[in-house]
Subunit: 198 residues, 2 copies
């Protein structure tokens, strides 16, 4: 995609802010998938999007926060969580999809890099928590609560901890790799937790 | 600690390599605890340690890998894992210590930054896996295997997955913070997994 700088568009005046924003996100999203997070600087993205570097500084607190926006604008994450009434089947299906996402060549490295960069970028960490981690946890907890209310889980189960022992366990294999992150692993996580290991 | 550059040590000749290495690790370790990972560049560490920048390039593949060495030289991680015969008590004690480590002001941020940087630094990732993740997993699996052999765990339990559902769940709350990472959480993880949540 070629985007002419605003200054090179004689007679057409300033682009509307929404258009500039879309061009910036498209440029950053493409750069992120091409070369990863280390390529994302305000300067490079501004040049590629034909936008002013100052605009980017005004709109995003850090290059990491811009990369996060770009990534999620590009990928249209689906947050759906099935409720067929069969908790084990629903958890397994969701975790298979999640493992597929984390291990895809397109998404896995970008998610790992964004989580990684968030460890030293508080603005990126805040964006990640608010717009990714917390809403996804909430959907999982809602599904688990339905199961608990239906008597399919012990009444005293701490639902948040279940999220850490299913999805968190998958992140662990992504971020501190040691063993395969695959659908067999997902099945084992669900089985361990539902039935207990004792 | 003040270390004179080699050039300022007339008549004393070159420092032995082991001494230079110790000075570099001490300098990098102090800088890491003072200002975090972003402060660690070969140039700054070389200056502080009175060493040649080229030496650092020769000895470490990346500043992240140097930071990792410095951190683990400084902290003397204890890898002990009790075996009192009571699996639940031993897991709980180990996880309490681990949560204390991850939430300490001294260690938590450095570990999070090192794991984070490893997502875009293959040399750091390799060092982390080889010298931290894998040996720690092996100790936990050994303890779990003893319990399984003693009939305290189901004979078909996948022991590696248990590591992800206990220690990995703690890393999840460190790296994608959303809920408290404390000893109550550790207790819940052990209870969920041993007894099952159904």
């Amino acid at each position: 995609m070629t985007v002419e700088p605003a200054a090179a568009r004689p007679g057409r005046g300033r682009r509307p802010a929404a258009e500039v924003r879309a061009a910036v996100l498209a440029a950053a999203g493409a750069m992120l998938l091409e070369n990863g997070l280390r390529d994302i600087t305000f300067e490079k993205v501004a040049t590629r999007a034909g936008a002013s570097k100052m605009t980017l500084y005004k709109w995003w607190p850090s290059p990491g926060a811009l990369a996060f926006d770009a990534y999620f604008a590009a990928t249209e994450q689906t947050l759906a969580f099935d409720d067929t009434g069969d908790l084990e089947a629903d958890l397994t299906r969701q975790l298979h999809a999640f493992v597929g996402f984390l291990t895809s060549r397109e998404h896995g490295p970008v998610v790992a890099e964004l989580v990684g960069a968030a460890q030293s970028d508080p603005d990126l960490a805040a964006a990640f928590a608010e717009r990714y981690t917390l809403p996804r946890r909430a959907l999982a907890v809602t599904r688990l609560r339905t199961a608990r209310d239906a008597g399919q889980l012990r009444p005293d189960v701490d639902l948040e901890s279940v999220v850490d022992q299913l999805w968190g366990a998958c992140y662990h294999r992504l971020l501190l790799p040691a063993c395969p992150l695959d659908t067999d692993f997902a099945d084992t996580l669900v089985r361990n937790l539902l039935a207990g290991i004792r």
